[in-house]
């Protein structure tokens, strides 16, 4: 192993061994990034196939079973292999130690282990999805609802095993980050000076640690039921299918916030830098992350609003679900206020951050009729829900990830991408995305159920429009990633701090040296003191 030179940067090492066995958080973050972006493209491609099938009513390119396999493929890969590891495993890994002035995470070897476990999980999941003859490809949907998943002859056991394994990776990463933030903050980096991205990662990590074991248990029960015929979820064996739904969403609802909180953190970092203004309501934003993490554990029942659950549990879960709206609204108001009287540069990271706010208000507001019992009964399991969560997941998390990638790109790679091209890509994405999912709100409101291979003629126009939007959406991603990859080879060398940020990660060279900081920095002040005029 080569001895780290003070001025050797982390990208210099070449060769499989130096990366795959490296415990450096930056390399691990980058390997994760490569992996999840690959799966993002794979799952995105299957979405394109899904939308192609739905271009017209009836058979377009595949049969009913083929369609069910495709949307399962799309959902399972997006959720389990891309968006759950998502921002924490990539930007979180790379930036968290740099932002708090640490040389690495608390347990670097555990960090590498998380990555390896992730890869092992990937193998199992892919085996279930595409590793068997076509007739055995999984067709249960990513939600694996019992008793269909108990009866299905497809790869339910390998995928549950895979998700079970991925869960360990997720828990270990969460644990690692939590300890890192508690123990490794540089002198002077008090909790109330902590960058908001770190607050967000911290909140998401708590959810990862607390919620993931539940899905592990659920999936274990499912495996036992399939192998030994022990009745947990199948009524014929004395089990209860609603129990599966409860257990599944007890994990899978909080997970939504593992996905979105870090994206919110990214946005909170970008807004002040590009407005040259302190973030507005720092504590409100930080604590609302924790509040969201807490409340997220008590709202899973909204996925069961028409499941046959009792009157009063629906009542209570509706009320609790509304509680999420409050910290979310607080965040939006504070972000927007940050721009007030600023000096705003609309470079691509800032464009993405503002688009995040724009799209996220749609995502959040359309959650209201889903939380309201009277209207949810109609909208439940319709395209309205599909549109709503794509606004949170793609409009929120993916746009947040892209904002972060464009913002920290010069730091991570020491290069600059083409700004004009990135703006073109941004607008393609913005238009394509809205064109895909706006029609789906209408479809859902007009009664179109989700997961339908075929549909009535009366829904054809809106489906067609949505599919055309999806093509533009897909093209936009190719363009955006093409530009980012081109920048790696042909981009200009990046300055140490091109956007004049005050955060610690920008005080080290680009790309950062292997050891991050020559000596442990001492933090004197808050991270967000950007204003040119100082108040008395």
């Amino acid at each position: 192993m080569s001895h780290a030179h003070a001025d050797e940067h982390y990208l210099q090492a070449k060769g499989f061994y130096n990366w795959f066995f490296s415990v450096d958080h930056k390399r691990i973050g980058l390997m994760y990034l490569l992996a999840i972006l690959f799966f993002f493209l794979v799952a995105g491609f299957s979405a394109i196939l899904v939308r192609t099938e739905l271009l017209f009513p009836g058979h377009t390119i595949v049969d009913a079973r083929g369609y069910n396999v495709l949307f399962t493929l799309h959902g399972a890969i997006m959720v389990f292999l891309f968006i759950v590891p998502g921002i924490p495993a990539t930007l979180g890994n790379f930036l968290l130690p740099l932002m708090i002035g640490a040389k690495d995470v608390a347990f670097p070897r555990l960090n590498l282990l998380s990555f390896w476990i992730y890869l092992l999980g990937v193998v199992c999941v892919l085996y279930a999805l595409v590793g068997t003859p076509w007739k055995d490809w999984l067709d249960t949907g990513w939600t694996l609802y019992a008793p269909y998943s108990v009866q299905s002859s497809t790869g339910v056991i390998p995928i549950t095993l895979g998700v079970f394994i991925l869960g360990f990776s997720s828990i270990l990463t969460g644990l690692n980050f939590t300890v890192t933030i508690h123990r490794l903050r540089a002198p002077g980096m008090t909790w109330h000076r902590l960058p908001l991205f770190c607050w967000a990662i911290y909140s998401a990590s708590l959810i990862q640690i607390l919620a993931t074991p539940v899905v592990g248990i659920t999936l274990l029960l499912l495996i036992m039921e399939r192998i030994f015929g022990i009745g947990f979820f199948t009524p014929a064996l004395g089990g209860d299918p609603i129990l599966f739904e409860n257990m599944f969403w007890f994990y899978s609802h909080p997970v939504v916030y593992i996905m979105i909180l870090p994206a919110m953190g990214v946005v909170a970092e970008i807004l002040p830098v590009f407005s040259k203004k302190p973030i507005f309501g720092y504590r409100a934003i930080a604590y609302s992350s924790l509040a969201i993490a807490l409340v997220s554990f008590f709202v899973w029942g909204h996925h069961l609003f028409v499941s046959g659950m009792s009157y009063w549990s629906r009542w209570v879960f509706s009320l609790l679900t509304f509680a999420v709206a409050i910290p979310t609204a607080i965040k939006v108001f504070n972000w927007i206020s940050t721009l007030y009287k600023g000096s705003i540069r609309l470079d691509s990271p800032m464009l993405y951050a503002c688009a995040f706010i724009f799209l996220f208000t749609i995502a959040g507001l359309t959650g209201i009729p889903l939380a309201t019992l009277a209207t949810d009964v109609h909208l439940h399991d319709s395209y309205f829900v599909v549109a709503h969560f794509h606004y949170t997941m793609q409009g929120g998390t993916v746009i947040g990830l892209l904002a972060g990638l464009h913002f920290w790109y010069p730091k991570i790679f020491g290069k600059m991408y083409n700004e004009l091209a990135s703006k073109v890509g941004f607008w393609m994405l913005f238009i394509g995305f809205n064109m895909t999912f706006m029609p789906q709100f209408l479809l859902g409101y007009f009664g179109m159920p989700r997961r339908y291979y075929d549909y009535l003629q009366e829904y054809a126009d809106l489906h067609f429009m949505s599919s055309i939007g999806a093509y533009l959406n897909g093209l936009a991603y190719l363009f955006i990633f093409g530009n980012l990859i081109y920048g790696l080879f042909k981009g200009k060398a990046a300055a140490k701090n091109p956007y004049e940020s005050l955060s610690l990660e920008w005080t080290v060279p680009s790309p950062p040296p292997l050891t991050n900081f020559d000596e442990v920095p001492t933090v004197e002040d808050w991270t967000y003191g950007y204003a040119s005029e100082q108040n008395a």
Partner: protein, 310 residues
């Protein structure tokens, strides 16, 4: 497309009132937030490198205000929604009750007089209808988009749903819980008829001016309604099961090696316990039993229909 459903049912009309209120609220919040966002983006765009910026770090007063306002708004929406939903979940005492059974991938409806219908549910107008629902296999969900109501249909557990139609006509029935291969084909039709037609339907009488159906015609209707059509053709082609063309009186060979001449008894057995004798070469696709769904009268109609296909 169920866009404007006002007048079709009272609950549906009220749901849409809530929905309209929420649409206005969403539109208002969306426009307010983003108008401010975009205004700031343009108004405070950096024009010179040393454009001054204010040191605004927050305000307890403002934070309190914008915590309280959403809190109050969501509490109001919550109770507004609960009010309508409570009625949606409370069927009137005197509701007419129909038992709904879901299976992959069809609906059947059992009326109080024991009559069983598939795919199409006929109900009288201006009468509250309560559906007691259960599934025979996996999860399904019964959805009447024009009435703005749905409820999951669960194996071994009864769920319910009620509605009252104020207008006659045909309305969609959708399955909205993913249930496997033909989930999207699990459609049905709700036929709301006036009192007179309802009474006629109950007595199995034809529409006025139409001759009563012959047994063969009734058999053909059953063949369509119960989805036999999906597996059995009438023109000699093999779909998933053997064709019905010319089978009556012919000799049939079975997987077990036995054979017999197709007669009434055999057809009856094939419908009630299809697995008793498996036709040679048809081991891939299992025929579901129609025990409890097709009654003896129906069976003789089906037999008449098959006989007619020579």
């Amino acid at each position: 497309m169920p866009i404007d459903v006002s007048g079709i049912s009272e609950i549906g009309t009220r749901v849409d009132q809530v929905q309209m209120a929420l649409i206005w609220l969403m539109a208002f919040c969306f426009i307010a937030c983003n108008a401010v966002l975009i205004y700031f983006m343009l108004r405070y765009r950096r024009k010179s490198a040393n454009q001054p910026t204010a040191d605004l770090r927050g305000s307890h007063f403002i934070e309190t205000v914008w915590t309280l306002i959403p809190t109050i708004v969501v509490i109001i929406i919550f109770f507004y929604g609960i009010n309508v939903w409570s009625d949606m979940r409370t069927p009137p005492e005197d509701s007419y009750q129909i038992n709904v059974k879901a299976r992959q991938w069809s609906w059947s409806f059992e009326y109080p007089d024991g009559r069983v219908e598939a795919t199409e549910m006929v109900v009288p107008v201006d009468t509250p209808i309560k559906l007691n629902m259960v599934s025979e296999d996996v999860l399904h969900s019964f959805f009447l988009p024009h009435f703005r109501v749905k409820e999951d249909v669960v194996p071994s557990q009864y769920t319910y749903l009620w509605f009252e139609a104020k207008k006659t006509g045909d309305y969609h029935i959708f399955c909205t819980e993913y249930c496997g291969k033909d989930h999207s084909a699990m459609l049905g039709n709700l036929k709301v008829v006036d009192e007179e037609a309802w009474q006629r339907w109950l007595r199995n009488e034809p529409e006025p001016g139409q001759a009563p159906l012959s047994p063969e015609q009734r058999g053909e209707k059953l063949w369509e309604k119960w989805g036999c059509k999906g597996c059995h053709s009438t023109d000699g082609s093999v779909v998933l099961g053997p064709s019905f063309k010319g089978i009556y009186g012919k000799e049939e060979h079975f997987e077990s090696g036995e054979s017999l001449v197709i007669d009434d008894n055999y057809i009856r057995e094939s419908i009630y316990s299809p697995q008793a004798k498996i036709v040679k070469g048809f081991t891939n696709q299992l025929m579901p039993s129609f025990q409890g769904q097709l009654k003896e009268d129906d069976i003789s109609d089906v037999i008449a229909f098959i006989k007619s296909l020579q």
